[in-house]
């Protein structure tokens, strides 16, 4: 990674990276009805080739859609179901509603914490939720992906990050990944704050934003 001191990434700032006729939008928040979402939409209306597309952003933000799209692309994903109350714990729970965000997932292992988590992700029972079964010894990784690249040297996570980026085209994201017996399965995509990036990840992102380089 570069050794020069990079300028700070500004909170809430959206950056545009233009390369080979495509405008790549870098943001901490691609969520529905955000400034970034409407920036993408307005560019699409003008016929600008843009990544990610508004459809991709929504696909990524709703966990069952995100996983089905990945599964159909040949990516190993966590098995999931939709429920109003039933959960085969241990499990990961995600909300599916207007107020839910994929960064807000809940690992649950017993009835009491499951009940509390369900109440939270369903807004007191108003909406269904998505669950993903876990097994003993499963580990949940959160990995930052910058244009499909990760700073970990793990080849499994590197490959997964590249595949997910190719599919959704989102330059900055957090991959939530379940590891079971050395095998990875994709769980969800979540937003990534600039402040959450490591020094190496920030340097990598700067290389794309400032020098407009695709490494």
């Amino acid at each position: 990674m570069g050794t020069r001191k990079d300028p700070p990434l500004v909170k809430d700032q959206t950056y545009m990276v233009r390369r080979e006729g495509v405008t790549h939008v870098v943001s901490e928040n691609y969520s529905y009805k955000s400034d970034t979402y409407y920036t993408i939409l307005s560019q699409e209306m003008k016929g600008v080739a843009i990544a990610p597309t508004s459809q991709s952003v929504l696909d990524a933000g709703v966990v069952p859609i995100c996983l089905e799209k990945a599964r159909l692309a040949g990516i190993r994903v966590c098995e999931w179901g939709i429920s109003h109350s039933y959960v085969p714990f241990p499990a990961l729970l995600y909300g599916i509603n207007y107020f839910a965000t994929s960064s807000d997932y809940h690992p649950v292992a017993g009835p009491d914490e499951t009940k509390a988590a369900i109440k939270h992700v369903t807004n007191c029972g108003k909406y269904p939720f998505c669950y993903q079964g876990l097994g003993d010894g499963d580990y949940i990784h959160r990995v930052h992906s910058v244009f499909g690249r990760v700073t970990t040297e793990d080849p499994g996570l590197s490959r997964l990050a590249g595949e997910i980026y190719d599919l959704f085209g989102i330059p900055l994201q957090t991959l939530v990944v379940r590891e079971r017996a050395g095998e990875y399965a994709f769980s969800s995509l979540a937003p990534c704050r600039y402040s959450a990036l490591s020094r190496d990840e920030k340097t990598l992102l700067h290389a794309y934003i400032e020098r407009q380089e695709f490494l």
């Binding site: 529905y32 009805k33 955000s34 400034d35 979402y37 409407y38 939409l41 307005s42 209306m45 508004s54 459809q55 929504l58 696909d59 933000g61 709703v62 069952p64 859609i65 089905e68 799209k69 159909l72 179901g81 939709i82 429920s83 109003h84 599916i96 509603n97 207007y98 839910a100 909406y127 269904p128």
Partner: protein, 290 residues
């Protein structure tokens, strides 16, 4: 024989009118030789086994109906409402963009980012679009989060409230009328037409007045009584969005018709189709073939 899935949720079934309409839809499909299954959110994995899907629950790109629509599209299953129609119609910014792009007549409309909100901007918009103004939070439905504002203080209060839910909001010229036309469009053709009479206590088709929910009256209108300009505009607006099922709301003032909004998943349970007995037959035929 084909399998039609009708996607419903608990809220759909909590309404007696909706339930009656759903059973009517099932009876029509079965009379056409198809089998019908009601699909609930927990059954979403069964969608790939269907030959077509008809969504009858409140649509939004962030809720489970969008999961259902997207599951159908992933597996090339005809679906009403298709995911694109949900994305466009659930978001007034996206919807008005599509209408503007196709040159469809709408009230004068401006999108306002929360960064632009200021009393000076409010005054500028009153000057440009007239007084009062209508402010809409983009994901409004059933006239929720649609407010008429008369002055700058009211503008700022409503805009700030809506800006907590969306970074952009819609500011629109107010068009006064006693009723809205609703033109039902399916696959680019007229499906039904009705009038929604606006209650005298409000300017919306549904509103909370003094703590009571006030609904509009619905009057089905036969095809020969639809003004030609209203019909043409309805079809034009539907075609600007897509090839699915839409309810186009139109106001006519001073002899000029304009589209107020295009709804996916339009209501069909309140008598909108009284003069159109073939509505469900046409919907099922559109999805599965006659």
């Amino acid at each position: 024989m084909s399998r039609l899935g009708i996607f419903v949720d608990r809220k759909t079934l909590s309404s007696a009118e909706q339930l009656t309409a759903l059973i009517h839809c099932r009876d029509v499909a079965e009379a056409m030789g198809h089998s019908v299954e009601f699909i609930f959110p927990v059954d979403i994995h069964r969608i790939p086994q269907m030959d077509a899907l008809f969504i009858r629950a409140r649509t939004d790109p962030m809720n489970v109906t969008y999961v259902a629509a997207r599951m159908a599209s992933f597996h090339d299953i005809p679906v009403i409402d298709d995911p694109r129609s949900i994305r466009v119609c659930s978001d007034k910014i996206n919807m008005y963009c599509q209408l503007m792009k196709k040159g469809v007549s709408i009230p004068r409309t401006i999108f306002l980012s929360r960064h632009e909100l200021s009393p000076e901007k409010a005054e500028e918009l009153f000057g440009e679009l007239g007084r009062p103004l209508v402010i809409k939070e983009p994901s409004t439905s059933f006239s929720l989060r649609v407010e008429k504002v008369q002055d700058t203080a009211e503008f700022m209060r409503v805009s700030r409230r809506f800006s907590k839910l969306s970074d952009w909001i819609v500011v629109q010229q107010f068009v006064e009328s006693q009723y809205d036309w609703r033109i039902g469009v399916l696959g680019g053709e007229l499906l039904y037409a009705c009038k929604y009479t606006i209650p005298t206590t409000t300017f919306k088709i549904q509103a909370s007045v003094n703590g009571h929910v006030v609904y509009c009256d619905v009057l089905s209108v036969p095809p020969e009584e639809i003004p030609p300009d209203v019909l043409d505009l309805g079809l034009e607006a539907g075609n600007a969005i897509g090839n699915g099922l839409y309810g186009v709301d139109i106001k006519k003032a001073d002899g000029h018709a304009c589209v107020i909004e295009v709804n996916d998943n339009p209501s069909l349970e309140s008598g909108e189709d009284a003069h159109y007995p073939l509505v469900y037959r046409k919907i099922v035929g559109h999805l599965l073939g006659a």
